[in-house]
């Protein structure tokens, strides 16, 4: 019985761990994206400079990683380092969920 309970707990834990994208709320991300789209354009798909990346449709886990790297200083950019500095872990999940859900023309080209 005890062993069965332990197995059940393990199963529940596994089921709840989910993919890396778990926990991001795209709608919440949109409301936090005002400052992002002032450079990356509407939906993150129309950057104001050719040196700024499109974000629309990009993988959410890549976007999360980029923001965390800026925050930690592992990736440096005068604009982005400052922008990422004040984001909470939830902000990062939400923003990544929002931009990855936007229609764009980023693709995997074979």
């Amino acid at each position: 019985m005890k062993r069965c309970l332990a197995s059940c707990c393990l199963l529940v834990a596994l089921a709840c761990s989910g993919p890396a994208s778990a926990g991001g709320d795209a709608a919440a991300g949109q409301s936090k994206s005002t400052v992002c789209i002032s450079c990356h354009g509407a939906g993150g798909n129309a950057p104001i400079s050719p040196e700024y990346p499109k974000l629309a449709g990009q993988h959410d886990d890549y976007l999360q990683n980029a923001l965390r790297d800026y925050q930690k200083g592992a990736r440096k950019d005068p604009v982005m380092s400052a922008q990422a500095a004040n984001l909470t872990p939830q902000d990062i999940l939400d923003l990544a969920a929002y931009f990855s859900s936007q229609a764009g023309n980023l693709t995997v080209k074979y």
């Binding site: 050719p50 700024y52 990346p53 999360q64 980023l106 693709t107």
Partner: protein
């Protein structure tokens, strides 16, 4: 002497004007090392962190060139990308940026 100085300063100010022009057609012989990861749907980088590598086809060419230059100089540090970018010439970078930037 003065002329030399003026030429040198002008050269510095116009640095970006001398940037290499990319040719998407020439990139076709250089993309195999990119495609091994970026050409596979949902391919994941596995070291030092696990996440899907970015989709780069259709990305802004200026951004791709800037990213590759940053990996080459070491200011961006992902180990696989550093190793690859170190082997790229300025012409290679410009060609790859033109190729992926023009992808539809």
């Amino acid at each position: 002497m003065k002329t030399l100085l003026i030429i040198a300063i002008t050269g510095l100010l116009c640095g970006s004007a001398f940037a290499v022009e990319g040719n998407a057609e020439s990139a076709k012989g250089k993309i195999s090392m990119c495609q091994g990861c970026h050409g596979i749907y949902d391919y994941k980088a596995t070291f030092p962190k696990v996440y899907r590598v970015p989709m780069i086809a259709g990305q802004q060419s200026g951004y791709i060139a800037k990213a590759l230059a940053a990996y080459k100089s070491g200011t961006r540090t992902q180990p696989n990308m550093r190793a690859i970018a170190e082997s790229l010439s300025d012409q290679d970078i410009a060609d790859l940026a033109a190729y992926y930037g023009s992808a539809k």
